[in-house]
């Protein structure tokens, strides 16, 4: 295929030494059963690799200041010797991965082994099944479209709109590509027919009719049907998680704005699975780089450097969770359990500690199991299904909580249930509050009502105000957000220019509140 590397100063290609290493490592990886598409390694100097990293791995993105901000940060970190980027690979076909030109040979081999793990994961994990593998072209296309809009409308105007879209970039429905949320038209019709007013009447002879179909019953049925129709008249008829998509379809925008919003949305969906599988993806790649490096690749002279590097990658910072570390350890834990037959009813039913400690049926299913896990799971189900009490204890996991008096985080609990609950909560929301569109004709004025399903954590109000303002501007009319603050139902309003808050139970706000409810 045509090579996409036109953006580099000159394509240097890989030196022969590295080409040979690539062929060799590719062979080893296939030998272990990893399945991956063609993988292209590009040599970059550190400025190029920093640029690629700030562009999310892609050589071309639409013009925006935040890439520049990220680049400066990485550039300075590298310059002052604080941080350095080792590996980067993008989910495309063929997959592109980048090698830093002044890394040692050992580093390059390690990166290659790690990259093959990632590419295998991209290719086989179900959550990536719907991602666009031609994203390299699409990103370039997006860049061209945004540039064209900037030429026509002015850079400031378009950039301001991009900033507005980015502020709601996280309001997407990560499960959308995998399921159908909306019922088709014919299904709707069928259901409507079933609920038609005549439906409730049972066939009966006329002299039996008032016994079989008593008028009160019919009246009740009619009433119910009316209510149902009224509910259906609400739009949307059920809450919509994909706020970006909803705005795109129903918001009042000019064509170029719609185009920009669609670009932001499609990129957000492209990156979503990577957020959903962070622990697994890094764990899987680390599992394979250690396996391949220690069994097949390392020479004696490279062992120390390798250990130094590897321990840096999986190092735990006190009190923080490293996805590389948790991922690789959990994969090893699963492999060990299935190798020793520590699963199924017998294992679950056994409560003799001594028997459990020495449990080994010689099942030898570990490798098969982890391959299966990498195909079907995401981080939430991975933790939900495989996090065990033993694992939490061995790894020393704990939950933390904010100590208001001390002004820092403190260890809260080492109890298995609490740790698991906390991890699942964090992974399920990924820091994004669950916010849905609940009414697009609020107050019969075509205003947008969003609802935050409060899960015990309050929103940060100053940012919520700004974000709601952006939504109102994109929507074209006022926007409202129903949430909970300090345990009280609170509605935030923004009409694009001014912001007001209604707190339930607050004296004086009662009248306004009632108007809201009616």
């Amino acid at each position: 295929m045509a090579h996409e590397s036109y953006f580099f100063r000159a394509r240097r290609g890989l030196p022969r030494e590295l080409q040979e290493a690539q062929t060799w490592i590719e062979g080893i990886a296939s030998g272990y059963g990893l399945q991956f598409c063609e993988t292209v390694f590009e040599m970059c100097d550190w400025q190029e690799i920093n640029m690629l990293a700030s562009y999310g791995g892609f050589p071309t993105r639409y013009p925006h200041w935040r890439w520049g901000m990220d680049y400066l940060q990485m550039d300075k970190s590298y310059e002052y010797g604080l941080q350095k980027i080792y590996e980067m690979v993008i989910n495309t076909q063929p997959a592109y991965a980048y090698l830093l030109d002044n890394n040692t040979m050992m580093d390059q081999k390690l990166v290659m082994a790690h990259v093959y793990g990632h590419v295998d994961f991209f290719t086989n994990n179900a959550w990536f099944a719907h991602t666009d593998r031609k994203m390299l072209d699409r990103m370039a296309n997006h860049a061209t479209r945004v540039r064209r809009h900037m030429d026509a409308e002015g850079q400031d105007v378009v950039e301001t709109f991009i900033d507005m879209c980015l502020s709601i970039e996280n309001l997407i429905d990560p499960h959308l590509p995998h399921i159908r949320r909306e019922r088709s038209e014919s299904e709707r019709e069928k259901e409507a027919a079933r609920r038609a007013p005549g439906y409730a009447r049972m066939p009966a002879r006329h002299y039996m009719d008032k016994y079989i179909n008593p008028p009160e019953f019919l009246e009740e049925q009619r009433q119910r049907h009316q209510d149902r129709m009224a509910a259906q008249a609400r739009f949307p008829d059920s809450p919509v998680r994909d706020v970006l998509g909803f705005l795109l379809e129903h918001g009042r925008m000019r064509p170029w704005q719609r185009d920009v919003l669609s670009i932001i949305r499609s990129e957000a969906y492209y990156f979503a699975p990577q957020g959903q599988t962070k622990i697994m993806n890094e764990g899987w790649a680390s599992y394979w780089h250690t396996t391949m490096m220690t069994r097949d690749i390392l020479t004696d002279a490279e062992v120390i450097d390798y250990c130094d590097h590897h321990s840096g990658t999986v190092a735990m910072q006190p009190g923080r969770l490293n996805p590389y570390k948790v991922g690789i350890e959990l994969f090893r834990h699963i492999e060990d359990r299935w190798d020793k037959g520590r699963f199924g009813k017998d294992w679950m039913d056994c409560d003799d500690v001594a028997v459990k400690r020495d449990w080994d049926t010689g099942a030898g299913l570990g490798r098969d199991k982890i391959f299966e896990v990498r195909r079907t799971h995401n981080d939430v189900t991975f933790i939900d299904e495989f996090l065990t009490e033993d694992f939490v204890r061995e790894q020393g996991l704990f939950t933390t909580t904010w100590d208001k008096k001390a002004g820092h985080y403190v260890v809260d609990s080492r109890e298995f249930g609490a740790v698991k609950q906390q991890m699942l909560t964090m992974l399920a929301s990924r820091g994004n509050p669950p916010i849905t569109v609940t009414d697009a004709n609020h107050g019969n004025r075509g205003e947008l009502e969003l609802t935050h399903a409060h899960e015990g954590m309050d929103l940060q109000l100053d940012w919520a105000e700004l974000t709601l303002g952006n939504i109102a501007r994109i929507w074209g009319r006022a926007a409202h957000l129903v949430t909970t603050v300090d345990g009280r139902r609170t509605v935030l309003h923004h009409d694009g220019a001014s912001f007001t808050v209604d707190k339930e139970g607050k004296p004086g706000a009662g009248e306004k509140q009632q108007k809201e409810a009616s």
Binding site: S54, W65, E282, Q395
Partner: protein, 367 residues
């Protein structure tokens, strides 16, 4: 050939400087580059602009950590925010560099584009030091350079043919002897004293103190970088002023009214006693919320500044930290009376995010 990213970098810089899209500047935060300096972690200032989103308030959510510790023990670090992108996201390796104070100062100077300070003319005292730098043929025996002496003797014996490799005996004579010689160097020595004054009256809260502490750290770092010998003295004041040590300075919470002149008087007594202005570079820094007790006292302060401090000091700096109670009137008074006078640097610090801007205002003149 330039990289694509250069345009975006340029765009970001223009926004930060406030040339375009001024609305964005209010989202600016100071950056997060962390370096270690000894035991403490210091952050290196890099501007960042945040894009507002729906998100949970800080510290609302707990986290999960890994490592030692009993319930109730402090857990370092932030809880994972669960964000981030796998695979595609670069694998970053934290190198945890030790940054020396010296390097920090350079980094800061570079980021804020601070000019190097020119020490005041004629105000360095010179100190004399002897340094052994050379070799001479004459000198006291105590300074004889044995190796050189024997080398000369060996040279002479080989040249004159008296050297016997079978019986290697070297006998130096008077001409062979070499002695160390020294030169007396006079080194200019520039010394500076920083006088920190802080208003600890009731209206200065915890956050205001923290701002002063952070700002003072950077000022210290920068001045240390520019002078060989920097001393710091600390004065706190409400209606009365007293000198304290560094620790007390940053911790004290008092209450009561404010007489700024009390601090100025004490500072002047310290200068007169210990730091003659023709030998020292003097940098008074005064932090306050700008609420002085009376107009008469303010007037007294202005006179003192005009007649004593400004002629004697390199620069007198006044930083006003916004507080809920302070009127901020003192800033107005100063800027009204001394507008355009380079010897007086004024700055306002509404919140933490403006510390870097403020440092630039105070130290940006390179005096």
């Amino acid at each position: 050939m330039p990289l694509n990213i250069d345009n975006d970098v340029h765009r970001f810089r223009t926004i930060v400087k406030g040339r375009v899209r001024k609305d964005l500047r209010r989202f600016m935060q100071s950056g997060e580059l962390l370096g270690r300096q000894g035991d403490r972690i210091v952050s290196i200032p890099l501007p960042r602009i945040g894009i507002p989103r729906f998100r949970y308030g800080d510290n609302e959510q707990g986290g999960v950590g890994q490592g030692d510790g009993q319930p109730g023990d402090a857990a370092d670090g932030q809880p994972g925010d669960g964000q981030g992108q796998a695979g595609e996201q670069p694998g970053q390796h934290v190198l945890e560099a030790e940054v020396t104070l010296e390097e920090l100062a350079e980094i800061m100077g570079e980021e804020l584009a601070l000019p190097r300070i020119e020490p005041k003319g004629h105000k360095h005292i010179s100190s004399e030091r002897d340094k052994y730098t050379g070799i001479s043929r004459v000198g006291p025996e105590g300074l004889r350079h044995t190796r050189r002496t024997f080398r000369e003797a060996l040279k002479r014996q080989i040249a004159s043919g008296t050297w016997d490799a079978g019986r290697p005996r070297i006998v130096p004579v008077r001409e062979d002897k070499r002695y160390r010689s020294w030169k007396t160097k006079s080194e200019p020595q520039s010394s500076a004293v920083i006088l920190y004054m802080m208003d600890v009256s009731g209206s200065m809260g915890r956050e205001q103190k923290e701002i002063v502490r952070l700002e003072a750290f950077w000022i210290d770092t920068w001045l240390q970088h520019n002078y060989d010998n920097v001393q710091a003295r600390f004065i706190i004041h409400d209606a009365k002023a007293r000198e304290v040590d560094r620790d007390t300075f940053f911790r004290t919470k008092e209450s009561g009214g404010t007489l700024i002149s009390s601090a100025y008087e004490l500072a002047w007594r310290i200068i007169e006693a210990d730091y003659p202005p023709d030998e020292w570079n003097i940098y008074p820094f005064h932090f306050s919320d700008g609420d002085n007790w009376s107009k008469a006292d303010t007037k007294k302060c202005l006179t003192m500044l005009q007649e004593r401090f400004l002629p004697a000091c390199n620069q007198f700096s006044y930083a006003q930290v916004d507080s809920d109670y302070g009127s901020g009137q003192f800033y107005e008074d100063l800027s009204g009376s001394f507008s355009g006078d380079e010897r007086l640097a004024l700055s306002r610090v509404p919140d933490r995010d403006h510390i870097m801007d403020s440092i630039k205002e105070l130290l940006g003149t390179g005096r």
